[in-house]
Amino acid sequence: MAEPLLRVEGLWRRFDVSKPWLNRVIEREKPQFLTAVADVTFEIARGETFALVGESGSGKSTIARMIVGLLGASDGRILFDGKDMTALPASELRALRRRFQMIFQDPFASLNPRWRVGDIIAEPLRTFGLATGAAAEAEVGRLLETVGLSAKDAEKFPHEFSGGQRQRIAIARALSSKPEFIVCDEPTSALDVSVQAQILNLMRDLQDEFGLTYLFISHDLSVVRHMATRIGVLYLGRLVETAEAKTLFREPQHPYTRMLLDAVPDLALSGRRRKPVTGEIPNPISPPSGCAFHPRCPLVHDRCRETLPEPHSTATGMAACFATKGDRAETETAGTA
């Protein structure tokens, strides 16, 4: 296999969620930490769309922000094109930054309301010194047309556009530095469905046209199903399963993946009988011992409550579960032993 474009190794992120120092001293409390991302490892090959799926508290947005450098990692390595970004000198990092970009969730917050659209799109061009003056203007016009807007829109302000058009502007901006890799953090979850379809189609067209690699973050399995080539499922900061998109939906391995699939409403009215979903996501400050999913898991066993299941390869990819590793009998003997 060719060298992956992005490789994340043993990534951790802890947040200090303690009360202010003075309160802590007076109330005699220990500092509290929240582990948002725990030991996450995955690879993204050139030209593919790797999706991270998870519910709130799964750490998917934290991973996205660490990859693009908005947040530091507590531990672990992020290799972009073979270079470890966590250990790179500032000058080299700057050169690397041009090659990746991010599309944010809320198109009403991701564009500075006081800037003209032209300036918003040109900011990466100017900051990286790729183009200035008339050249930058021409490029902005071309980018606007690429995403289905008009070159004349550069003169306008963001509030003159609808949510979908704003997301197009955000995409034009992300494309302006000619990146190879784009992190898309819930790019359509703030949009209406008919507009979501436009944006998803546009993103796929752009991928084909420019050979882009996407890291696609979403909580919506149907959207992920449509966009991704490979999928990683996160639960409370840990990667519980990765698989090729098609096989993940056909043969989900991890019990949590199965539960997520069962929770998706059945729009085809196929009358598919689903297992009722139970329980809620635990508080990430005090996650359950052993496998974090064990309180909700239908296959739970004694061992799951004590030991953290290591990721192991499955027929379809990777899963971190005792029940999916080998056959059930093995788990049971292990549990009683």
């Binding site: 519910e55 709130s56 609808s162 949510g163 979908g164 058009q165 209406d192 469905v193 008919s194 507009v195 979501q196 379809a197 436009q198 998803l200 189609n201 796929r204 909580h219 919506d220 399995l221 149907s222 959207v223 199903r225 449509h226 939906f249 539960m259 997520l260 699939l261 069962d262 929770a263 998706v264 409403p265 059945d266 729009l267 085809a268 009215l269 196929s270 689903r274 009722p276 979903v277 139970t278 329980g279 809620e280 996501i281």
Partner: protein
């Protein structure tokens, strides 16, 4: 045929602004039968939440009902005094909103909020009201309800709070529950539980539900019939199965095609070009005409009224009108 529980006729809601009056709902008519779940679906700005607010008399000023009528069991409720309307809210119509925190007072315990509501509407003693509240909490799936009833809203997780709100909406045995995006703020796995709960518990108590949501999936799972709103007008209404599997209005067709599903294999989603018009710029004729793939001359001139194409199915489209007229 039985009498509808709720009957809305030609509802028109206007917002006077300094640039003229905006018509946010225009000629919306539908019925909800006793015990029925009616889904109300549309994109943001289509007027689905406004419809709910107009029914319960909670339109935000300067919005006002400018025409039409709303009847609850035959009695007009759109012209009631605010005081009389308040007695209907909570008692005969229960409400569940998107954000459970807006329905719960953070300063009071769950017990106090539930028993107060119960005693406002039902002649029960404090102790009886508390017993009833505990039974309700238990029914909506709050574990250890007898103990947790004395907790405050912030002690509960988002999903649990929404369960409390559902208990609150149902505590006076209403005939109708209006649920406005009840699952939008929740996680996927919790969402499914809440949908199931609303459906079950209302069926059990014979309460009808008006379920307002942007999510066609939620409608498909829950509703008996669905009304599709576009730019403040009713595009299509009918049985969920009919509308989802055999959409007739070009907007509904586009909407259904644009939703990615777990089973489809196609590379591209159907996309409707453009976006829903702002209320200040609704085109003449059919509001959907700038985006419609099947548009023809008449659509630019005359506005199509809902036409009955089969029992319980209405579509506002000139093409369907023509089909009906020509057999």
């Amino acid at each position: 045929m039985t009498e509808p529980l709720l009957s809305v006729r030609d509802l028109r809601v206007e917002f006077p602004t300094r640039r003229g009056t905006l018509t946010a709902l225009d000629g919306v008519s539908f019925d909800i039968m006793p015990g029925e779940v009616l889904g109300m679906v549309g994109e943001s700005g289509a007027g689905k939440s406004l419809t709910g607010a107009a029914i319960i008399g909670l339109l935000e000023p300067p919005g006002r009902i400018a025409g039409g009528e709303i009847r609850l069991r035959g009695e007009r409720i759109d012209i009631l005094s605010p005081d009389a309307m308040r007695r209907i809210r909570g008692k005969r119509i229960g409400m569940v909103f998107q954000d459970p925190l807006t329905s719960l007072n953070p300063l009071y315990t769950i017990a106090r909020q539930l028993t107060e509501t119960i005693r406002t509407h039902l002649p029960l003693s404090e102790a009886d009201a508390r017993q009833r509240a505990i039974a309700l909490l238990d029914r909506v799936g709050i574990p250890a309800a007898a103990r947790r009833i004395d907790d405050y809203p912030h002690h509960f997780s988002g999903g649990m709070r929404q369960r409390v709100v559902i208990a609150l909406a149902l505590c006076a045995e209403p005939e109708l529950v209006i649920a406005d995006e009840p699952t939008t703020a929740l996680d996927v796995s919790v969402q499914a539980q809440i949908i199931d709960l609303i459906k079950e518990i209302c069926a059990e108590r014979g309460a009808a539900v008006m379920l307002i949501t942007h999510d066609m999936g939620v409608i498909a799972e829950t509703a008996d019939r669905v009304a599709v709103l576009y730019a403040g007008r009713l595009a299509e209404i009918g049985k969920v199965k009919d509308v989802i599997l055999d959409a007739r209005h070009p907007y509904t067709k586009g909407l259904m095609g644009s939703i990615p599903t777990l089973t489809q294999e196609s590379d591209r989603l159907v996309q409707i070009p453009g976006a829903m018009p702002r209320l200040s710029a609704i085109p003449q004729g059919c509001a959907f005409n700038p985006r419609c793939p099947e548009v023809f001359a008449r659509c630019f001139v005359e506005r199509p009224e809902p036409v009955k194409i089969e029992s319980g199915r209405q579509v506002s489209c000139w093409i369907e009108e023509w089909k009906v007229g020509h057999g």
